[in-house]
């Protein structure tokens, strides 16, 4: 695992991405992780690449190699270098102290670029060469990528970059022993693969789900979902509208959905906070709506580029009064694609807002994932009003938009359907949709709205399950943290501790069929999540009234696998 760290704007990220693409094409399993400063220029940034011959679930805890472009990059990252690890630094920038704990090499990146190549901007590509040599990445792949990237700028530029690449490779061969230190074999072939970020996967999932109207307001780290769709949605007859704020974006989604079109918005925490009133309207008027929250570290503006799973409580409880809504969370980059589809299906089927909780780690990391098989995509639509009045749709010639039904789901009409006229309203209403305030109506309509939630729980997408079903130690987690949990379960097994882990994709309503038995059957339950209070743990405790071990990490970074392993070992002593 290698981390490249430096100043934002220096090309750190593009260096890393070049290496990543080469590695993926070379057949390695691959997972990247990035952090940006919240400032545009200046500030510390890094990209981390984990290459393996085995399937990867996290960016990993400890570094094999740290490539530090400057002093700050060294200061902030050296603690993560594993004992015996390799430090590479740009000797033009600084000189770190010697340490017996690691090997270190001063690579004159700037120097090589400036004086050998007369191409100062080339220092990143020199760095690519260094890393490529260390990991034994095929040079031809890299050359091809440089051609793809710089071809438009002319042969000259390509040649310069290739020279820089070669200079880096040569440096390793000459100065660092010559042989690749971290060669990993090609991974087992998992079929056709694509390298994408979670945001890209999610946006493509939305397209696959039939989303044709996107409304959004830019916010880190959700913006590139909008940018992706802006580039592509129009090609399938859809459109993207930049709203004036998040309240407007959510209102637009409801307007489009009322019109019968699948619509979505994506935001991060501050935007979700602003949308809460609109979600209540969606729930009351029973309109499908998909709201993506790519969580970042809060509260308030918080740390816009950092990771946290801190918006679960808001997603579940935001809104005055009793607001039914469904909350889903993908557990991997690949899952972003599939849960986007489930989000639309559930919204349509249960006529309510669905909040899809992604997070910074999923959104920004690129991962090599199986190419989605579109033949597996199944779209489920809303229960439509039938003009012949079937489905108990009429009362005295008027359409009973909110007819009481066993599941709570009533047939709905869309404008243009003759005889289907009704008023969507946030006021309490009777079956016809007209305002009604008597106790009986309010009670029965509340029950109707919540019957849908019960039905949705029974209809939850399958949970992510991993580990030993007979284990007495259980882990319940959610979102990207499942990646770390999977690796921790493997490590625990190696240490002889059996663990089973569960990550429901549906967090609200809690899908009791998936969670209930699991929770009851385990002696100890650990709930790792990246927030302070243990938000999912609290929901589980309220539902199942049992003690859980909260394993909260709240530094703005993903939870470390080692922390989970440690927690397993601790509880293991008591169980064992």
């Amino acid at each position: 695992m290698v981390r490249i760290a430096g100043e934002s704007g220096e090309g750190v990220i593009s260096t890393g991405e070049l290496v990543a693409q080469a590695a993926a094409r070379a057949g390695y399993e691959l997972l990247t992780f990035k952090t940006y400063p919240a400032e545009i220029k200046g500030g510390h940034t890094l990209i981390q690449l984990r290459l393996s011959d085995r399937r990867l679930y996290t960016q990993g805890d400890q570094l094999d190699v740290l490539l530090a472009f400057n002093q700050e990059a060294y200061d902030k990252n050296v603690a993560d270098l594993k004992p015996g690890g390799l430090l590479i630094y740009d000797s033009a920038e600084f000189t770190p102290p010697e340490s017996g704990d690691r090997q270190q090499y001063a690579v004159p990146l700037t120097e090589i670029a400036r004086s050998q190549l007369k191409f100062e901007l080339g220092k990143n590509v020199v760095a690519v060469g260094v890393v490529a040599a260390l990991f034994d990445l095929p040079k031809e792949q890299l050359v091809r990528l440089l051609q793809e990237k710089f071809g438009r700028k002319g042969e000259d530029v390509v040649a310069k970059n290739v020279a820089a690449l070669e200079a880096g490779i040569r440096y390793v061969q000459d100065q660092m022993g010559g042989k690749p230190l971290f060669a990993v074999g090609a991974a087992e072939h998992r079929g056709e693969m694509v390298v994408v970020s979670g945001n890209q996967a999610l946006a493509m999932g939305a397209i696959a789900a039939g989303c044709r109207n996107y409304f959004g307001y830019p916010i880190t780290p959700a913006t590139d979902i909008m940018e992706f769709l802006a580039a592509h949605l129009s090609k399938v007859g859809g459109s993207v509208v930049q709203a004036e704020d998040e309240i407007a974006a959510a209102g637009m989604v409801l307007g489009a959905s009322y019109g019968g079109v699948r619509a979505m918005t994506a935001t991060s925490g501050p935007g979700l906070s602003l949308m809460v009133e609109m979600l209540g309207l969606g729930a009351m008027a029973e309109l499908p709506a998909v709201v993506v929250d790519v969580q970042r570290a809060g509260p308030s503006t918080g740390m816009p580029t950092k990771h946290e799973q801190g918006d679960l409580k808001l997603a579940v409880s935001g809104g005055h009064g009793e607001v039914p809504r469904i909350v889903l969370a993908p557990t991997s980059v690949e899952d972003c694609f599939w849960q986007a589809i489930n989000a639309f299906n559930l919204a349509e089927q249960y006529q309510m807002p669905v909040i899809l909780l992604s997070d910074t780690v999923l959104a920004t990391r690129t991962e090599k994932i199986p190419r989605p098989d579109l033949s597996k995509v199944e779209l489920k639509g809303r229960l439509l009003y039938q003009a012949d009045g079937s489905g108990n749709g009429h009362e005295g010639g008027r359409f009973k938009r909110y007819s009481f039904t066993a599941t709570g789901v009533s047939p709905m009409s869309v404008p243009g359907q003759a005889g289907g006229q009704y008023v969507a309203t946030g006021l309490e209403h009777g079956e016809l949709g007209r305002p009604r305030y008597d106790p009986d109506t309010h009670s029965r309509m509340t029950e109707k709205r919540f019957r849908k939630l019960a039905a949705a729980a029974a209809d939850a997408p399958p949970a992510d399950l991993y580990g030993d079903p007979s284990a007495e130690i259980g882990i319940v987690t959610w979102g990207s943290t499942m990646g770390a949990v999977v690796e921790a379960v493997d490590l625990a097994r190696e240490k002889g501790i059996a663990v089973e882990a569960l990550a429901p994709r549906m967090l609200w309503p809690i899908p009791d069929r998936q969670v209930g038995e699991f929770v009851r059957s385990k002696k100890v339950l650990i709930v790792p999540e990246v927030n302070y209070s243990g938000q999912f743990a609290d929901l589980l405790a309220a539902r199942y009234k049992r003690d859980v071990v909260k394993l909260s990490s709240y530094g703005g970074t993903p939870i470390k696998v080692a922390r989970i392993v440690k927690a397993i070992e601790e509880v293991g002593q008591h169980v064992g």
């Binding site: 056709e192 693969m193 694509v194 390298v195 994408v196 493509m204 397209i207 696959a208 039939g210 044709r212 109207n213 409304f215 592509h232 129009s234 090609k235 399938v236 007859g237 859809g238 459109s239 993207v240 509208v241 709203a243 004036e244 704020d245 309240i247 407007a248 974006a249 959510a250 209102g251 637009m252 989604v253 409801l254 307007g255 489009a256 959905s257 009322y258 019109g259 019968g260 619509a263 009133e277 609109m278 209540g280 309207l281 008027a285 190419r371 579109l374 008027r398 404008p415 243009g416 003759a418 005889g419 289907g420 006229q421 008023v423 969507a424 309203t425 946030g426 006021l427 007209r434 305002p435």
Partner: protein
């Protein structure tokens, strides 16, 4: 908007729901509702192809009294809802109706942006210069010095001039009507509907229960039709006329032909028409 429907002759009853308005006797909103019925009949709209969007307020109750589709949203967010609906279903006719508080207080930002977009809807602001539903507080169009229970010392804020705001923000059809002149109002609404792009019609619609200043009598004395020779193509002239406080002109202040929001979206789509499956497979290829 659909016009195939003009074939069938409809009556006013076709546009009335069986829900009776709950407004106070003498409320200006009755006149606006009637004008809306008449305009829809005049246009020959098929009720199934029309959506009336509103917010929250006395005036915003209006969708319940109309036999078309309706969306009675939350306070101040008519324009976002209408925008989403138009983006999704540009072939429908959308009328937006609601109060001055809804439009200019909590909804002020959205008003601005709907105008910038030139959203093709007709927006009737039922302007009583008061918050009716919450029982009489100062609204953005209340005069300076207006006293209510929340402003017992008289409101100090300059009042919003809806027409000037609409003109500044870029609205392409800007008009003013009066509930006391339902015929002329119905005609304005028809013109608004016929106009491509955002049609803003500020309608004086008195609230006899809570606003004792801006009464029917008050407006009858001040309201005057725009001069015959008013040039609705002249933005500067429109602004000047909109600033007049005596008389208070009614009629079409400004009208401009410009690309609508919906045309812009069509433009996006013209960029290429693919099947979703092909698009996705192409993207997967690119990422592999």
């Amino acid at each position: 908007m659909l016009d195939s429907t003009a074939l069938i002759e409809r009556t006013l009853e076709d546009y009335k729901s069986d829900e009776k308005p709950t407004w106070c006797p003498g409320c200006g909103d009755f006149g606006v509702l009637n004008a809306a019925y008449n305009a829809m009949r005049e246009k020959g709209f098929d009720p199934k192809d029309v959506v009336v969007v509103s917010g929250i307020g006395c005036s915003s109750r209006i969708p319940f009294f109309v036999a078309t589709y309706g969306f009675h949203g939350v306070h101040g967010r008519t324009m976002p809802i209408a925008t989403g609906l138009r983006a999704a279903r540009p072939e429908l006719s959308v009328l937006v109706m609601g109060g001055d508080g809804d439009a200019f207080a909590i909804g002020g930002g959205h008003f601005l942006h709907a105008a910038r977009r030139n959203l093709d809807v007709t927006y009737l602001i039922m302007d009583n210069s008061i918050y009716g539903l919450t029982k009489g507080q100062t609204s953005p169009t209340s005069r300076v010095g207006f006293t209510t229970k929340t402003t017992p010392h008289g409101s100090a804020d300059r009042s919003v001039n809806p027409l000037l705001l609409a003109l500044t923000a870029g609205a392409t059809f800007v008009a003013r009507g009066f509930s006391g002149q339902p015929k002329e109002l119905a005609d304005l609404i028809v013109q608004g509907i016929d106009h491509k792009g955002l049609s803003i019609i500020d309608v004086y619609s008195p609230c006899p229960t809570f606003n004792k200043v801006n009464t029917f009598k008050f407006y009858r004395e001040l309201v005057e039709a725009l001069p015959q020779d008013h040039d609705a193509a002249d933005l500067g002239e429109a602004m000047l006329k909109a600033r007049s406080e005596d008389p208070l002109y009614v009629g079409v202040f400004y009208r401009e032909e410009a690309p609508s929001f919906e045309e812009g979206l069509e433009g996006q789509k013209a960029a290429g028409e693919t099947d979703a499956h092909d698009l996705l497979e192409g993207l997967f290829d690119r990422f592999s």
